[in-house]
């Protein structure tokens, strides 16, 4: 085996040395083959890296969704009969294939989404690979149960797949968010109709082409398109048995409304405005732990801030505020912005022009509502070929938690910073939000760390760490941040029915009649 050193800058797709070449057009993937959209229409897909169109993608509608759901049900007849051993082997093979092509998938993800290649190489793709392996293991170890109701009566509980499920994927981690939903669904024996985000429709097809020989035809189907045209027909389809969605709150409600018509379960992951709470003892010493906390402060730049759990509100205890914030700002200034395909780049492009404009408008809102701009606050022009790309400078505002930039999710590298007096004040501000997805707590005092983690109303409280996403830790929201969980073996429950066989071994009648 030869160990290769990654190049400093990966070649852009389209150039001869690139690790991935996109096709000029992607159709839907239905029933094990690529098929043209019913409408005959395609939409352009630009790369956020340079703002230029690099492929066109099928524009799906209800007819395409119907076709995919039918293909999935045809596949389900045999897929549900595969043993868990067979399914686990397939999931592990998918993981192995991805690992062998890690750079290819990472470059595809960066080109489609704009994220820095070092994040795609170190986080997105390795986490996706591990997710398949985790659920390959989890399904092997899962068991039903037997209950002895009385001497002659036994309750057996079996796990069964739901059938055909719909999954609607966001654009911030196009591959990883797809795999978060796919791995447990496939492990549990379901067939899937998946709709990628229209902003990032391409990398999932690089993945699909890479692994298509490993999955039976129809087990995984991909229909591209827009929310109202393709997402709504999928979510409201009478022949799906579950719908999973990651995105914004209005569409989350709409998906629940549609699911209510068919009485099917939903899981929703709808974002947040995550507090990152720094208690005074963090600054007791200027040691490695202090440096780690400053990294935690700077983590709002990960994935250009386009993360549902972006630590977009920093709450710093008043007694250390000036010094800690000064050191934190120095750390933010060291975030290197540049070509997302360069290994030196720490922050890349925003995923779309819409997103860029929304972030810029929130910068304007922050200034207008009287927040103090400490850093950034504008678009970045990286010049040359990147001048049309969607770049913004890491931005820090100081203000009050009641301001819009503290309450509304911006989904960009924009930090809203404020102080708190004591423990109760810190927790009160942390919880003063519509959302409850992620949170961070930093303290050298284990008891304080534990207590704060329990008092913050969020599904995931990173304690003395942030932005880690291991497959074995449950992830999901309190309050307006959603319903259900992703990751962890408990996720299998969201993709399974419980079959109870209640069996009588008694010799005679019960005696009623």
């Amino acid at each position: 085996m030869t160990v290769t050193t990654p190049p400093n800058t990966y070649a852009a797709p389209g150039s001869p040395e690139a690790k991935v070449q996109f096709k000029p057009r992607y159709d839907h993937y239905i029933g094990g083959e690529y098929v043209a959209p019913a409408s005959g229409q395609y939409f352009d897909n630009p790369s956020p890296v340079n703002g230029k169109v690099f492929t066109e993608v099928a524009r799906g509608n209800a007819a395409d969704i119907d076709r995919a759901v039918e293909a999935a049900w045809r596949a389900f007849d045999s897929w549900k009969k595969t043993t868990i051993t067979q399914r686990a082997i397939i999931l592990n093979k998918i993981a192995d294939r991805m690992e062998e092509n890690l750079e290819m998938l990472a470059v595809a993800e960066t080109w489609d989404n704009g994220k820095p290649i070092r994040e795609a190489l170190a986080a997105d793709v390795p986490l996706a690979i591990d997710h398949f392996r985790y659920f390959a293991g989890a399904i092997r170890a899962q068991e039903g149960s037997t209950g002895e109701i009385d001497n002659d009566t036994v309750a057996y509980h079996f796990h069964e797949p739901l059938g055909v499920v719909g999954q609607i994927i966001p654009w911030n981690f196009p591959l990883l968010m797809a795999v978060w939903k796919l791995a447990p669904a496939l492990a549990a024996g379901n067939c899937v109709v998946l709709k990628p985000a229209e902003q990032t429709p391409a990398s999932i097809h690089v993945f699909m082409e890479l692994i298509q020989d490993l999955l039976p035809a129809g087990v995984l189907n991909i229909v591209n398109g827009f929310g109202v045209e393709a997402g709504a027909p999928l979510a409201s389809h009478p022949n799906i048995r579950k719908i999973a969605f990651t995105g914004e709150t209005t569409t989350g409600r709409l998906i629940m409304q549609m699911a209510s018509e068919n009485l099917i379960p939903v899981t929703l992951e709808l974002g947040g405005k995550s507090p990152n709470v720094f208690f005074a003892d963090v600054a007791d010493e200027k040691d490695d732990f202090y440096s780690k906390a400053l990294e935690g402060f700077t983590f709002f730049n990960l994935n250009s801030g386009e993360v549902c759990t972006c630590p977009s509100r920093a709450l710093v205890q008043k007694s250390i505020y000036d010094g800690f914030v000064a050191d934190g700002l120095e750390r933010v200034k060291a975030v290197k912005q540049g070509n997302p395909l360069s290994m030196d780049t720490m922050i890349g492009a925003q995923a779309s022009n819409d997103q860029l404009e929304k972030i810029l408008s929130y910068m304007d809102i922050g200034k207008q509502e009287g927040a103090k701009l400490l850093l950034g606050g504008d678009r970045a022009d990286l010049g040359g070929d990147l001048t049309e790309g969607y770049y913004v400078n890491p931005t820090v505002f100081e203000g009050r938690n009641s301001m819009r930039i503290f309450q509304e999710e911006i989904f960009g590298p924009v930090l809203s910073l404020t102080s708190f007096n004591d423990y109760d004040d810190g927790i009160k501000i942390a919880n003063d939000t519509l959302y409850g997805l992620g949170a961070g707590v930093w303290s050298r005092n284990g008891a304080q760390l534990y207590k704060a983690g329990r008092d913050i109303q969020a599904g995931r409280v990173w304690s003395n760490t942030y932005h880690q996403y291991p497959a074995g830790a449950a992830f999901g929201g309190y309050k307006q941040s959603g319903i259900g969980r992703e990751n962890h073996k408990m996720m299998l429950d969201h993709y399974q029915q419980t079959k109870n066989l209640l069996v009588s071994y008694a010799d005679g009648p019960m005696g009623f009649f």
Partner: protein, 95 residues
């Protein structure tokens, strides 16, 4: 450029609804295709913090939603747009 009328839901309050000439022209196009439209101010991740646009009735409005106002573009009832958002106190611990 089409005529635009903004009818606020509450005439005593500052209007939260406005439209640029470019957006108005596009809305006329959309309403010709889909009929009257509604906007619902979303929150949360990805496309959150942006108004979602649907044909009227596509999204079920609930008790938590606040009517911000209506747009009548070109004076036609067909090109009516209803604008809503969620009551900002929902789920918040703020008092």
């Amino acid at each position: 450029m089409p005529d635009m009328t903004v009818a606020s839901g509450d005439t005593t309050a500052l209007s939260r609804v406005d439209v640029t000439p470019e957006a108005a022209a596009f809305l006329v196009e959309l309403t010709q295709k889909h009929g009257p439209l509604m906007f619902h101010q979303s929150g949360g991740c990805c496309d959150g913090s942006s108004p979602m646009c649907y044909p009227v009735g596509f999204f079920r409005v609930g008790a938590v939603d606040v009517h911000l106002g209506d747009l009548r573009i070109g004076g036609s009832n067909r090109s009516r747009c209803t604008c809503l958002e969620v009551n900002s106190s929902i789920g918040s611990t703020r008092t």
